[in-house]
């Protein structure tokens, strides 16, 4: 009892974690510039900021992954150096990193006990017990013997959170944990935050979804170009209206020039969630309604791909996309979306069925053609695996911009690279798409996620696209970049370029698309026109589809 009250007295004086003057420099960038903030017990502290603002860098300093160039960290008032992840874990700071930190070849259980066992032999019983306990807190059940790499991304995310909770007894840091989660998962996470807060845990939560920050956070700090651009305290967060809060956050994030973002699509989200039958949906449909939709440009007939242990495959997919149409692919992730995208792009051969593309005025069969040939006919693919497959990290921005055109004029003539053309092309892309990079020669791996996405978008939409497949086009992007991407898709549709948009954010699909195909277990289980009832219809289909 005494100790308890003594503790709380101390709490009131010193915050759980207080960082002052943290500075971190990478070659060419000042990622954190004199950052000071404090993290209190029993609070969800949201970190917001555009791509590359320095959020991940800051939390990697807290988790011992990066050492700051300057600055101090006080834990309950005492200055502490966090030199390694081990030290952070021993201090009770558990972290869910932005990039996956599960070992894909190990089982869930092995991943959890990695670094958590004492003694000479592996003791799985303790691991099992903790897993059950934590899983019940999270409200999920996971098979401890499943191989981590075989799990769907959202399931992996849950395991990551459980792993962080195991050691995170005083603070839990989560870097964009909701990026992979479906809305239901996000709601679940919110409930978990409440329980953990009640238990006295401090939570640092990074997200690009402003409504999540406003709903789930007790305090918001916005970073901008490595500095603290502003913050919103608990009182204001609780008293202000969410619309006003959003405007303020957006203004802090991007400066006053960006106030036109006040009308951002992302902001409609909880309007949709609260009153699914009214309001902003009209806007989305009227957008589509305003466009003239032309003749079929892409046609899939009975396209099938055999199922494998890791994938549901595809089964008799029949779809037709018209010129200027935006077709959304809805459904829970891992139900054939990636397979569909790859089959359309030409990265994967269909096992049966045909694909036709409008070219030279008639529909031509393309399912035997490769990526390059389809690309030249105007079929393009924006992959969701930005660093993994869509770009070559060790090559420059300018080369990455022509990666799918190797050998084509004007960038190559008689098989010889035309450096000048490639450079000019890069400069115009950097200009037109507002790509933030030190130069066109910079390795693309050094860019932030949002800027890599802009490079890919530029590459795929340059030089006469006819139809573009977008796989999770705005995943992990800050509000402004996200809007830019959506605007680009819409604008191209207005010019007659069709799009297939795959996303696990229904809100995004509702905002962009004319029609939706709902995928479940590799089958199209329904086609829904965008309209007031679309969300309900899709929801019904998804629930029905996943239950059966």
């Amino acid at each position: 009892m005494d100790a308890e009250s003594a503790g709380s007295v101390k709490d009131s004086i010193a915050p759980l974690i207080e960082i002052t003057g943290i500075t971190k420099r990478f070659p060419g960038v000042l990622a954190n510039d004199d950052i000071s903030l404090s993290i209190e017990k029993g609070e969800v502290h949201c970190l917001l900021g555009e791509n590359g603002a320095g959020k991940s860098t800051l939390i990697s300093i807290l988790s011992g992954m990066t050492r700051p160039d300057a600055g101090t960290i006080l834990i309950e008032g005492t200055e502490t150096e966090i030199n390694s992840p081990r030290q952070a874990l021993d201090l009770g700071i558990g972290t869910v990193y932005q990039h996956a930190t599960l070992v894909p070849t190990l089982t869930v259980l092995e991943n959890l006990i990695l670094g958590n066992t004492k003694g000479a032999t592996l003791d799985e019983s303790e691991g099992r017990r903790r897993l059950d306990e934590l899983a019940s807190i999270l409200g999920t059940d996971v098979d401890p013997n499943a191989v981590a790499g075989d799990l769907a991304l959202d399931e992996q995310q849950v395991i990551e959170i459980i792993k962080a909770l195991w050691k995170g007894k005083t603070a839990l840091i989560l870097d964009e944990p909701t990026a992979m989660l479906a809305p239901a998962g996000v709601a679940e996470l919110g409930k978990m935050f409440q329980r953990l807060k009640a238990g006295g845990l401090a939570i640092v939560f990074i997200t690009h979804m402003l409504h999540e920050a406003i709903e789930m956070g007790d305090r918001v700090t916005v970073l901008r170009q490595g500095r603290v651009a502003g913050s919103i305290g608990p009182d204001e967060l609780r008293s202000e209206q969410s619309e006003r809060l959003r405007d303020r956050i957006v203004e802090i994030m991007f400066g006053s020039e960006a106030t036109e973002l006040g009308d951002v699509a992302e902001l409609h989200v909880d309007v949709l969630e609260d009153h699914p039958d009214q309001g902003s949906l009209e806007k989305a449909t009227s957008d589509a309604g305003g466009r003239s939709i032309g003749a079929p440009i892409l046609k899939l007939d009975n396209v099938s791909l055999e199922a494998s242990p890791a994938s549901h495959g595809l089964h008799n997919i029949n779809l037709t996309i018209a010129e200027g149409e935006i077709l959304g692919i809805a459904g829970v992730g891992g139900n054939g979306q990636a397979e569909l995208a790859e089959v359309l792009a030409g990265q994967r051969r269909v096992d049966s069925g045909q694909i036709h593309l409008l070219h030279d005025g008639n529909l031509q069969r393309i399912d035997r053609l490769g990526v390059h040939a389809r690309g030249q006919m105007g079929l393009r693919y924006v992959s969701d695996d930005r660093r993994g497959e869509a770009t070559v990290g060790s090559m420059s921005v300018s080369i990455n911009l022509v990666l799918k055109k190797i050998g084509d004029a004007p960038f190559w003539r008689w098989h010889i690279m035309q450096a000048g053309e490639i450079q000019r092309n890069a400069e115009s892309a950097i200009e037109n798409f507002d790509i933030r990079t030190p130069s066109a020669d910079t390795n693309i791996s050094k860019l932030s996620g949002g800027n890599i996405q802009k490079v890919i978008l530029a590459r795929e939409t340059m030089s006469n696209p006819r139809i573009v497949i977008h796989n999770k086009p705005t995943h992990g992007l800050d509000v402004r970049t996200m809007l830019m991407v959506r605007e680009r898709i819409r604008q191209m549709a207005a010019e007659g370029v069709s799009a297939v948009v795959i996303s696990n954010h229904l809100e995004e699909l509702l905002d962009l698309c004319d029609r939706f195909a709902v995928l479940s277990k590799g089958r199209v289980i329904g086609i829904v026109e965008n309209g007031p009832d679309a969300e309900r219809h899709i929801g019904d289909l998804m629930v029905g589809g996943t239950v059966s």
Binding site: P27, G28, T391, G393, S394, M417, N443
Partner: protein, 400 residues
């Protein structure tokens, strides 16, 4: 293993591994020195090549001193024999020819992320077939034609010996380190067998079985009245051609993409299997050609069990040169000087010939270490010495 991730493409002066690269300095707004690029280049060359070389020489010298020999005389002999004396320099240049061709073959393979470690087998098969056939063929055709024919054949044989690893990699994804090493072991034995069984000279009483000797007048033409044969030119042209190909052509970029990120290669529509096979063939052809050049230019015949085992030493050189052809040529020259000069110097000092390997090893290791310090400097980290002196001072302070 993804060799691809390790093999760096020089194409964009990249530094995915955080090490030194020129582009880093160009782009670095907040860090890195701002000298003009020319003096910077010279400084880098000094730091990354001359300094480690000196360190290796110093360490080796101390070792020689410890063994009771005179290091100055030792290194004097190396320099004299390897560079200064005309006959020694010729030997050095002659030695460069096969090494350059091997380097060309390795640059192609490593840039494409393919670990062709089976160069010895490819080299020897090329050598032994040429050794076995050249003398006979030269009876039947004019010298020029025979040489072209033989060179072509050695390349073809070297390439052919990569087909098994190539197909196993392209079709089943079987790691090529395993297959090329095994094929190399088989190739080395097969080469010896070829000499013994098919191309044995009829002469009796030979100690070691060998092929018929090719007349000196039928060998590769020599350059400017020296003993240096035109294989050197072939080697130089090969390395430079590969260098230019990797940087300026479609095939070069495709191979670089394959080497840097196989998934991206698939994604951007490259025919990955075909590229793998092409890489293997090209690489093996250079290796086989190296064998052919060595026989047609220097040996004139092949003895059973002949195996100079040249390829393994070239591997780290190519990596240290980061697939840059010009730097590779410089490193190959250095290696040749050390080997040719070292042979005589060790003999004179009464040391085993393998002592030269120790010097080469020291050079390699000091060069990588130099890269490490350069990378740290560019990242703006404190040097080890600074950190150490800090610690010492701190400890001293605490003591007081």
């Amino acid at each position: 293993m993804k060799a691809s991730d390790r093999v760096r493409t020089e194409l964009t002066d990249e530094n995915a591994d955080g090490r030194a690269s020129a582009s880093d300095r160009r782009n670095g707004k907040t860090s890195g020195p701002s000298e003009s690029s020319r003096t910077e280049k010279i400084r880098r060359a000094m730091l990354l090549t001359i300094l480690p070389l000196l360190a290796a020489i110093l360490t080796g010298g101390l070792l020689i001193l410890a063994l009771g020999e005179n290091p100055i005389a030792f290194y004097g002999t190396i320099i004299d024999r390897g560079i200064v004396s005309p006959s020694g320099l010729q030997e050095t240049l002659i030695r460069m020819a096969p090494l350059l061709l091997i380097a060309a073959g390795l640059i192609v393979a490593f840039s494409a992320g393919i670990w062709n470690l089976g160069g010895d087998g490819q080299f020897l098969l090329g050598a032994s077939l040429v050794g076995g056939l050249a003398a006979t063929v030269s009876d039947a055709m004019p010298r020029g034609l025979m040489l072209i024919f033989m060179l072509g054949m050695s390349a073809a044989v070297g390439g052919a010996w990569t087909i098994v690893p190539a197909l196993m990699k392209a079709r089943y994804g079987i790691n090529e380190i395993i297959t090329t090493l095994m094929m190399s072991a088989i190739g080395v034995n097969l080469a010896s067998l070829i000499v013994k069984v098919w191309f044995l000279t009829p002469e009796r009483g030979l100690q070691i079985p060998r092929t018929r000797i090719l007349d000196v007048s039928d060998r590769l033409p020599t350059l400017f009245g020296t003993r240096v044969h035109s294989g050197l030119v072939i080697g130089l042209v090969a390395v430079i051609a590969v260098h230019l190909m990797m940087r300026h052509t479609t095939l070069g970029l495709r191979l670089n993409v394959l080497g840097a990120n196989v998934k991206a290669a698939h994604h951007s529509g490259l025919k990955v299997s075909k590229l793998i096979v092409v890489t293997f063939l090209l690489s093996g052809m250079f290796m086989g050609l190296a064998g052919g050049v060595e026989v047609l230019g220097v040996q004139g015949l092949v003895r059973a069990g002949f195996n100079p085992a040249l390829t393994l030493v070239v591997v780290p050189l190519v990596f240290l040169a980061r697939m840059n052809g010009w730097v590779t040529i410089a490193f190959v020259f250095l290696l040749s000087v050390l080997t040719i000069g070292g042979e005589l110097a060790t003999r004179q000092a009464g040391l085993p010939n393998d002592f030269g390997l120790l010097i080469v090893a020291l050079v390699l290791i000091f060069m990588t270490v130099a890269e490490y310090f350069e990378a740290r400097r560019i990242r703006g980290e404190r040097t080890v010495w600074q950190t150490m002196s800090d610690r010492l001072l701190a400890r001293g302070g605490a003591g007081v």
